[in-house]
Point group: C2
Chain length 124, copies 2
DNA sequence: TCCATAATTCGATATTTATGGAAATGTAAG
DNA sequence: CTTACATTTCCATAAATATCGAATTATGGA
């Protein structure tokens, strides 16, 4: 997953209502839920909900399908997997972050380096 | 991890400069890096960098220690682990998100339910 | 004490984001 | 074709964020 995309996903989830919506959709399963029901369940005004759904869609975290007058939204599990993978890969420096007593030492970094860095003072 | 805290962490990482700073700190290891060096490496103005460092600190993603005139910032691996755990636990409904071909079906949910939901129309 | 340097805070500004009423759009049913 | 309803778009407004020069606050060395 590319950084730009990860940022979009993080931003989409970093908002109370949207995170609640996403969790609700995850809970609801692959079939999804209609906008009306989401609004009822989470008590969000239609226009506001629409705004947040668009935001989540834009980030690729949810998808929708129309069925007669209703629109069913569902969580896109793949993109959430990709986000978690991004965080695990890029923000834990190979320390198998999810695993218990991580942190410390930094083995040898089998992973890509940003290079760029490392310049002058302080020598550490 | 509580939702409020997760949101703070997500918001802190959902910004290009901050994500870059955090990744840089992760790469740098537990010892950390001085503010000056971060600014040089990522080319960010002091005041701007200070703002973002405060933001990351507030979210608990980094910590700092003063050493003479320098302040060393380092990634807080535990909180990143906690965030990943939160996402895995709450946004994948027991589908062991991180693992390959996840998504689909939704086994039986050994996990806590928000209850709240499920009301009227449409019956699904 | 005085100077240089590291980092933060202050303050002004520009941009983005969130909220929700009202109007518009789409779809189905009478 | 008219009405009912689901959802989105439009629009105005309020609030939060990001940026960065300038001033301020440490801290150490001459």
């Amino acid at each position: 997953m590319e950084t730009k995309i990860a940022i979009a996903a993080l931003a989409a989830l970093a908002q109370e209502t949207r995170l609640a919506v996403f969790r609700y959709l995850v809970e609801a399963g692959p079939q999804g839920v209609t906008v009306g029901r989401i609004g009822e369940a989470l008590d969000v005004a239609p226009a506001t909900l629409s705004f947040h759904l668009k935001e989540l869609s834009r980030a690729g975290l949810i998808t929708s399908r129309q069925e007669s007058r209703f629109i069913w939204y569902s969580a896109n599990y793949e993109s959430m997997n990709a986000l978690i993978a991004y965080l695990t890969d890029n923000c834990c420096q190979g320390q198998a972050c999810g695993v218990a007593g991580a942190a410390q030492a930094k083995p040898k970094s089998t992973r890509r380096k940003t290079a760029a860095a490392r310049k002058k003072r302080p020598s550490r």
